[in-house]
């Protein structure tokens, strides 16, 4: 019988080597999120309220300034002084001291902000990863420290109140990771999703005489499944209002990977 072990072992070594080659990822590993059926807070015109979320993995923390500086050094077309205008807005990495470094005034471990969607997408591709879809963020963010879906708990709902601001409950440095081992999903920073541009319109405008009829093919009313979910919907609406080149001081990102 032919032994396949050596080739398996060398494949493993290769995989290890390429994993090590992905610099800047140390200490910000991916956490497995077991998929399942999920009642999303965002309801479109579909009648089904429950969506199936496939298993995926998500970075334990948002990408930091330090990690993003490593990326900019490796792929210098993403420096703020070299990025093509088609991808950039004037604020891109504007809070960094120089084009290639955050500088002393910026916490290297804080999430990288003032990053546009294109740069976030490129960072994740370099990681052989992708940006998470919004529903994946929502699914992972439904957890608290002990439960995978804690949304029925008023204490969980309180976490949304100042979500995206320094006053967010989860912005405190000692906030425990959630049940998946993921931190900061309700912290001081919002995060890009792959499908940021999913909210097409604020209602079904077909047939109205406002000159905009048929602009959005099939786009009809967006609704909340529960008014108590407003924090999630607020985030969704914010992302949908952004142009991909836009940056915000409280908008960062983290990467995800599909589970094969």
């Amino acid at each position: 019988m032919k032994r396949t072990l050596p080739s398996t072992a060398s494949l493993f070594l290769l995989a290890m080597a390429s994993a090590l080659a992905i610099a800047g990822d140390a200490g910000n590993g991916y956490r497995h999120v077991e998929g399942g059926d999920f009642r999303s807070s965002v309801r479109f015109e579909e009648t089904t309220r429950v969506v199936r979320v496939a298993s995926f993995s998500l970075m334990a923390r948002p990408v930091s300034n330090h990690e993003f500086a490593g990326f900019v050094a490796r792929q210098s077309q993403w420096r703020r002084d070299r990025i093509p205008t088609v991808f950039a807005s004037p604020g891109y990495l504007g809070h960094w001291a120089s084009a290639d470094a955050p500088g002393d005034g910026v916490d290297p471990d804080a999430p990288a902000v003032h990053v546009n969607w294109y740069a976030a997408d490129a960072y994740c591709r370099e990681q052989q990863a992708r940006l998470p879809r919004f529903v994946e963020w929502e699914y992972a963010a439904a957890a608290d420290a002990t439960r995978r879906d804690a949304r029925g708990d008023p204490r969980w709902r309180m976490r949304q109140v100042n979500d995206g601001t320094p006053h967010a409950i989860d912005a405190a440095p000692d906030t425990p990771a959630n049940a998946y081992g993921i931190q900061g999903l309700h912290g001081a920073y919002w995060e890009w999703s792959e499908d940021y541009a999913s909210l097409l319109g604020d209602g079904d405008r077909r047939g109205q005489q406002d000159g905009d009829s048929l602009r959005y093919c099939g786009a009809t009313a967006l609704a909340f499944n529960d008014p108590g979910d407003y924090g999630v919907v607020k985030r969704f609406v914010l992302l949908s209002a952004l142009q991909p080149g836009a940056t915000l001081g409280n908008l960062g990102f983290r990467c995800a990977r599909s589970t094969p």
Binding site: E45, V51, Y118, A197
Partner: protein
């Protein structure tokens, strides 16, 4: 020393931008994306540079707006003089590359009797959103496999700058868009 390092970094910057061959900063062809055409040939997104083009995004399983998008684009092309028509590329980019196989793209081209020379492109799965983003096309998959999307013709000049956009609301070309197409084609 300072002067030397300035010289060095200027040289490096020059080397870095040489491969872009003075592509304007606002060109959509800065995007590194790959696509496949209806003949299964790979087509780099940036290789579309060099000719003005009308570009739109659609998907073959779409029965509402996409036929209108194609008819509208045909209507634009039909109203050009032969010399203009020869200069303008027509590109339909799929929002749904998982289902829009080369065979499906060929079928839709045949069904709509599109003229010779149109390109139907299916991007790599992870390049769809980025192409849609540079074209400002918004879309969302619905549970039933259909896609909500903005229906738009986008006019790109030879260097990939967005010069005009036309919202598709019917099969007839938008006269204002047509004027802009002719203007771009008249440029040297």
């Amino acid at each position: 020393m300072k002067r030397l390092s300035f010289f060095l970094s200027a040289t490096l910057a020059l080397a870095g931008s040489l491969h872009a061959q003075s592509l304007p900063g606002d060109s959509v062809y800065h995007l590194q994306a790959t696509t496949q055409d209806a003949g299964s040939r790979p087509v780099a997104w940036s290789s579309l540079r060099g000719q003005p083009r009308v570009v739109s995004m659609f998907y073959t399983n779409c029965h509402l707006m996409c036929p209108l998008i194609i008819e509208n684009a045909k209507s634009v092309q039909k109203q050009l003089a032969p010399r203009e028509r020869a200069k303008l590329g027509m590109v339909m980019v799929s929002l749904d590359p998982a289902r829009d196989t080369p065979a499906a793209l060929q079928e839709v081209a045949r069904r709509h009797r599109v003229p010779e020379g149109w390109q139907f492109l299916a991007p790599a799965g992870n390049d769809v959103r980025a192409i849609a983003s540079v074209l400002d096309v918004r879309y969302r998959f619905r549970d039933d496999g259909s896609i909500n999307h903005t229906s738009m013709l986008v006019l790109l000049d030879a260097d990939g700058r967005v010069r005009a956009r036309s919202e598709v609301t019917g099969a007839a070309a938008d006269p204002a868009f047509l004027i802009q197409v002719k203007a771009v084609l008249a440029e040297p």
